[in-house]
């Protein structure tokens, strides 16, 4: 029976690609994004006539909720933008669907929120580090002014450098 063996050169190239043990144990550099690199969006709101009105800060009778997002790294940004970009053959330009872009950002970067503290139905769950469809559904169930505010604050950090 013939024995198939990898060429020596290939083995050497593979070895070169493998990290040394000390490199594996090394902590990320100060500029590198990890899954713990997060930022928080705070939402202050007061109930008025059965609707929630956004407020500028905490206070008496004001509910405060938080949404935690992960900072995106360059690779993630490229992937997400690719998914939201299409080519318009008529106008001969690339078009970015901003609604889709925002959706992908929320689905991939939202870590947790406090809206589920009194309502387990709004619990956020992930599958392969992406929000599940049910969790995305829960996000879309928020009042539109909440959604707009969260997206705006999220984009302030992701797109407009904080």
């Amino acid at each position: 029976m013939a024995v198939v063996q990898a060429k020596e050169q290939v083995k050497q190239a593979e070895a070169a690609q493998q990290l040394r043990v000390d490199e594996k144990l090394m902590r990320p550099g100060k500029y590198e994004i990890t899954k713990d690199t997060t930022f928080t969006v705070q939402i202050h709101a007061r109930e008025k006539d059965g609707r929630w009105v956004l407020m500028t800060g905490p206070g008496k009778g004001i509910d405060t909720n938080t949404v935690v997002f992960r900072m995106w790294n360059y690779n993630e940004e490229i992937e997400v933008r690719k998914m939201a970009t299409s080519y318009d053959a008529g106008k001969r330009v690339h078009m970015i669907d901003n609604d889709a872009l925002n959706r992908f950002k929320v689905q991939r970067l939202m870590v947790s929120w406090t809206f589920d503290k009194d309502n387990p139905r709004l619990r956020i769950q992930h599958s392969n580090r992406v929000l599940t469809d049910e969790s995305w559904e829960a996000f879309t169930q928020l009042q539109p002014n909440f959604i707009s505010f969260i997206l705006e604050e999220m984009n302030k950090v992701l797109e407009f450098n904080g």
């Binding site: 690199t37 900072m71 790294n73 940004e77 490229i78 933008r81 080519y87």
Partner: protein
């Protein structure tokens, strides 16, 4: 007009571009917010990245790699047709892999023998905050792009430069200046773009004056020979003189 400090900064940048045309240095002001480094025009830190100058070859290779086929609608073409489009987002990723040489960040840049960033290195490089890398890439792209305003200026100046009665343009834009200076010096003296910045400035000025005089002289010659009246009057002895009228044979 800028201050002395700004003037020096501009002069330094121009010198870098002239004497080191193979590299583009990009500087981004930053600040640390919420635990990560983000671009900030008023920030108190500065990060630097050095890119290899985008060459025709680099652009050709990256475009080839990122092209995909798009179907054009039947309304536009009257039938089924396709066109090739560059994936502009993927282009940016490959640009980093191909052209980013070094930077002030604490992530070492490693390249393989073919000049491309190694996959392991790219994994770390691409893990920096996206806005910071975007800033580096955008500033690098500014050094490559020709803006719409610049293109319009080139068109306006070329319309003057290449017109029949053209006598050159005042305040020539970079394209016209490059075209004329490099074209003339290369054609006449074989001086390439690499050597020109190192040339003695006095020699450059003297040669430029000579080129200008030669150009004036040849223009005058051409206006005397063929640039004047289209018709001629043939006088006694067969000698011609210019005329505004039609060609009439005199007795």
């Amino acid at each position: 007009m800028g201050t002395g400090l700004q003037a020096e900064q501009i002069a330094r940048r121009e010198c870098e571009e002239l004497y080191d045309p193979d590299h583009v240095r990009v500087k981004v002001r930053t600040s640390w917010k919420m635990g990560f480094c983000l671009p900030d025009e008023e920030g108190d830190c500065e990060e630097t990245a050095v890119f290899a100058t985008m060459t025709f070859g680099d652009n050709f290779a990256i475009e080839k790699g990122t092209q995909y086929e798009v179907e054009l609608g039947e309304k536009m073409t009257g039938g089924k047709a396709t066109t090739h489009v560059t994936d502009i987002v993927e282009y940016k990723r490959l640009l980093v892999k191909r052209n980013l040489l070094s930077w002030s960040l604490d992530i070492p840049i490693e390249r393989d023998d073919s000049g491309w960033m190694t996959p392991r290195c790219y994994d770390r490089v691409s893990s920096i905050p996206a806005p910071l890398m975007e800033s580096f890439v955008n500033k690098f792209e500014e050094s490559v792009e020709v803006s719409e305003a610049e293109e319009q200026r080139i068109s306006r100046q070329c319309a003057l430069l290449f017109s029949k009665s053209g006598h050159g343009v005042a305040d020539a834009c970079e394209a016209v200046s490059l075209f004329c200076t490099l074209g003339n010096f290369s054609e006449k003296f074989g001086i390439s773009r690499d050597y020109l910045p190192k040339m003695s400035y006095k020699e450059f000025l003297l040669l430029k004056i000579m080129i200008s005089k030669e150009s004036d002289s040849s223009r005058q010659h051409s206006s005397k020979s063929g640039g004047g009246a289209l018709s001629q009057i043939i006088g006694p002895g067969g000698r011609a003189r210019p005329s505004r009228g039609t060609k009439v044979a005199l007795p």
